[in-house]
Symmetry: C2
Subunit: 261 residues, 2 copies
């Protein structure tokens, strides 16, 4: 409607479009105001109300509209820019990034498969609680004698093997049971146990399928695999988990978005 009425004004240089931030902040909510703004903008982008390239109102105007102070508004915009959803140009304004893929998050194979509609299942091949070996002590920065859960899992999508995963998790955070791992991804289980992730360092490479891997993954010996080693630490900087995974290159690849700072 609006665009029809203003058809003769379309000469304007700006890639601007209407932007309707049709949300309001709820001051009685325990959710911080700046975070409500982040969620509001994110959902407006997701729903298409805020389209890529669209120029937002100025920070001052938005702050006034939502009855927020400028610093609070800026804090929200800061995070949206940092995560790559918005682009700021000094003297010009703030736009929705044209390239609005989801930001980099700790990817969970299980969740990825589930959200892409492929039914993920897990077969727990082995599961023990044991004293950590030297290598694990180092990787998890544990003191000698500490215990870990050590398990291997086969991940399937729609019943076909996709990945073979071996993990070591410190045993003083929560009680792990094999049953938990067969019905959910590892990260979901740990999150439920109250773990909040912070940093993951990982190394991704490639290798050829060995005879042993082949029998589990039901693929040919010598076919390409993606290898990943990952160590994850929590909020408090404490190491939580380390693992070695291999993925069928024919049915999986790592997608990620890096934000340059």
């Amino acid at each position: 409607m609006g665009s029809a009425m203003n058809a003769h004004q379309h000469r304007e240089r700006r890639t601007s479009v209407e932007n309707e931030l049709a949300f309001n902040v709820d001051r009685s909510s325990p959710v911080p105001l700046y975070y409500q703004v982040i969620q509001g903008v994110e959902s407006a982008i997701r729903s298409g109300t805020l389209r890529p390239g669209c120029l937002l109102d100025s920070e001052r105007k938005l702050a006034t509209m939502l009855n927020l102070s400028l610093p609070t508004m800026r804090k929200a915009m800061d995070e949206l820019v940092l995560s790559g959803r918005l682009v700021r140009k000094r003297g010009v304004g703030t736009q929705v990034a044209s390239h609005s893929t989801s930001p980099l998050v700790l990817s969970s194979l299980y969740e990825e498969l589930a959200s892409s509609g492929k039914k993920p299942t897990t077969t727990v091949l082995s599961f023990i609680r044991q004293e950590a070996d030297r290598d694990t002590l180092t990787k998890l920065q544990l003191s000698p004698g500490s215990g870990v859960y050590h398990f291997t899992r086969l991940r399937l999508a729609e019943g076909s093997p996709v990945a073979l995963m071996e993990n070591w998790v410190r045993d003083d955070l929560m009680t792990l049971k094999p049953e938990m791992l067969s019905s959910d991804g590892l990260y979901a289980v740990l999150r439920q146990g109250g773990v909040t992730f912070r940093l993951a360092s990982q190394r991704i490479g490639a290798s050829l399928t060995s005879a042993c891997e082949s029998s589990l993954l039901e693929n040919e010996v010598g076919s390409p695999l993606i290898t990943m080693e990952r160590t994850v630490s929590d909020d408090a900087g404490q190491m939580i988990e380390t693992g070695r995974h291999v993925y069928l290159a024919d049915s999986y690849s790592f997608e990620m978005t890096l934000v340059q700072r």
Copy 2:
């Protein structure tokens, strides 16, 4: 020395250690104050003055010490926490993260090799300026008829092939010459041309060496390769470059640190 003298005090609960933020901000500098603090803390961590686990003074104390306002101090701390170098605990304080790897940055194979002491060189195998094909138009979000540089390069470390790279770069940013690419990495060349990177989306997978790749990479047909496709956009959200690379899995892997938000 210090540890011997204080041996009997080791009972204290805090992992705290002295923290000497032995830097001062320079108010005449064009570098923002909060950024000077970030740099100061980062260099203190790098140099070992601030050791992992070390408890910092409170934000209020640090602000007073450096003659900064609390919000400015907090902005610096915010970014240090976000990039994973510090860990905050409400009611307790702020510690240096035990796990202080470098944050995720747009990795450049050339720079990685150079900084690890391996002498990188590049052979430019082909180089043309051409009208973008359909696929490239889509990936770089260009309008039909736009031009791109299209080139393939062989990257060597200490004279041995490591990677085979094919790239497409929009041609309206700067003038590219093959000579530039043989003496420097692509990103360094683009940065010099005034491009500031912002987001990269990439997909990493694995494959087997083909006959053609084998002849260039001097490895065996069927040996494992890491494959990467990447598209990079700049500050303004404009797509800059897209490429398809393959790396010898035996001599390279992708290392990265993910920060969970």
